[in-house]
Point group: C3
Chain length 248, copies 3
């Protein structure tokens, strides 16, 4: 049918580690270069979680070189996904904070399971860190400046019904209908001539993609100098401790 399915299976929470990101980018590039493939549906094989976002262990107590490599991989994921020529649909079957939210926001369409226990949002501020400008721009383009300003400052995670109300996701469906719905949406988008759809998508997104490409090294340096601060390292360690306690 020309549609691929990419199912995230990196238990326990599909965190975006360097390995995950590398594999994601290789897989996406293969699909991108496969002329038979016109669309991709992203979903999770892990119950209750779509993706927990950037892997905090990659940002804690590592070398400058590691931070640079990791951040370049995060950028690469966004550049490839936001700029993909394929139709990209996120079938969000679980919570999706921070980088997991960015992944969903970078698709063309988002369907979320209508479970109010599942939430989505760019909650970086809660961890004491700040979303980079291209996370912010992606978010503003979807929910508008005001909702973004408030949500980013509060580090809000929006439960599914609120996520729909704010336009963070495009629709909610029952979990058992998710794949059927994703396939139907994909068919609707693929009914358009690829060439016109791709040029239109590029017209909407190119300025933003170009902005990161132009400032890529600077953005990496910003990340390194921010994440290397002792106060930030301490915040992240405390956050990881909290997560561990929560689990046990």
């Amino acid at each position: 049918t020309g549609v691929a399915m990419m199912k995230f299976k990196s238990p326990p929470v599909n965190s975006l580690s360097l390995d995950f990101l590398t594999e994601f980018c290789i897989s996406l590039e293969k699909l991108e270069n496969n002329r038979a493939c016109r669309g991709v549906i992203f979903t999770s094989a892990v119950p209750k979680i779509f993706s927990s976002g950037l892997d905090i262990t990659e940002m804690c107590g590592k070398s400058t070189e590691h931070y640079a490599e990791f951040w370049r991989a995060v950028q690469e994921m966004w550049l490839q996904l936001y700029g993909s020529n394929m139709v990209t649909v996120a079938a969000v079957n679980g919570s999706s904070p921070a980088g997991g939210c960015l992944l969903a926001l970078s698709c063309d369409y988002r369907i979320m399971v209508e479970n109010p226990k599942f939430s989505i949002g760019l909650n970086e501020a809660q961890l004491g860190i700040v979303a980079p400008f291209w996370f912010k721009d992606t978010f503003v383009n979807i929910v508008g400046h005001r909702v973004a300003e408030r949500s980013l400052q509060l580090g809000s995670l929006h439960a599914a019904p609120e996520a729909l109300r704010f336009g963070l996701v495009d629709e909610l469906v029952a979990e058992e209908k998710l794949q059927e719905k994703a396939a139907a949406v994909m068919a609707q988008w693929l009914a358009l001539p690829d060439h016109a759809r791709q040029l239109t998508k590029s017209m909407m997104r190119k300025a933003m993609l170009d902005r990161l490409v132009a400032h890529r090294e600077e953005d990496i340096q910003n990340f390194i100098s921010f994440i290397s601060k002792e106060s930030i390292q301490k915040s992240l360690r405390m956050y990881m401790e909290m997560l561990k306690k929560k689990k046990s």
Copy 2:
């Protein structure tokens, strides 16, 4: 009363041919230079259609010179209408796809007949073509980035109730109330001092108008090279065939 009415009467579908556009611009300029005229209401004399948009026959099998002349006329229509000092109200009494939608979007206010059979939208992608950046910017300014991104990629035509929900039109009224409502809206806008209203309008729109003026020749060249492609010509011919079959 200082209010003019421009009634489109170019059967069967008020398509924006070179002749139509030329006459539109001459008429609008006359009103603009007439100090007694402070507002214009645009509506259609053709049943069920406001305007079907750019005349496809002007873009099919013609010379490069013709394409250039036609595209310059399309630009001119938008520059004059979007930048008009008068209050401009679209009384949308029928469907309004593509260029017809742009015409309505370029006014200060849009009232649409509440008939769900009437639709409006920038559906260029359905024809295999791409709306130029200034169509896109006009659309984004009205419905926001997210709605625009989705609608443009899908080439959506929105039935009147959905058009209202997305903010594509400002209100719906029964057909028999349309002219009365348009006159009432016009009176409300004309109650403001012209000078302050015009400066405010210019503050909101000048950057966009300047952008096309600065890139006008480039935009014409883009149009010519795009429309001259054999694949695009083929798409348009197929679309015209489909329209003919539909009619008969």
Copy 3:
């Protein structure tokens, strides 16, 4: 608790005179430099009015030097408030036209008393004058381009329920619950780490603040040349006469 309350008490209508603005800026700067203070709630001690906006007597029949000094003070208020590192909450307990609306829009969050007799908006056009670009940009960032374009051209004052619908304020509460609600919202915002919240706020607002800083003198000259026009002076005198008659 680290939260200050600034209560406007300049009867009869809390108009933003040069004295008011000067005192406002001195007070805000003191709080900004007080490390114990993390948030400010703005409200009015005058019944039924939050702030009536710029004091028209400062713009009528005065010297060029006076206009320059006054306008610099208006700019300063916005630069300090919009760029504040503290959490800023407007507890809007009365009407808030023009500059009063700007003051509220420059905060992080707006709670308005749910009295439909209280209204808010940038109604400058009604007075025959034009909101400067940074009033407009602040407004657009909150309500979006389309609502801003219409509201600014019509000089609309939105009654509380409509203000909520357009996103001009974030919520409505009964008058007796206003202070309690403001304190609760403040606590929610202060629960975030200051550093991450401040950097996020700056990321959202810095480009706009920089734009005024870069064009500050030009903006003052624009104001002076506009306000010095005899036609504008006449409009303002007529408006003041109307206000006087309304009162008596």
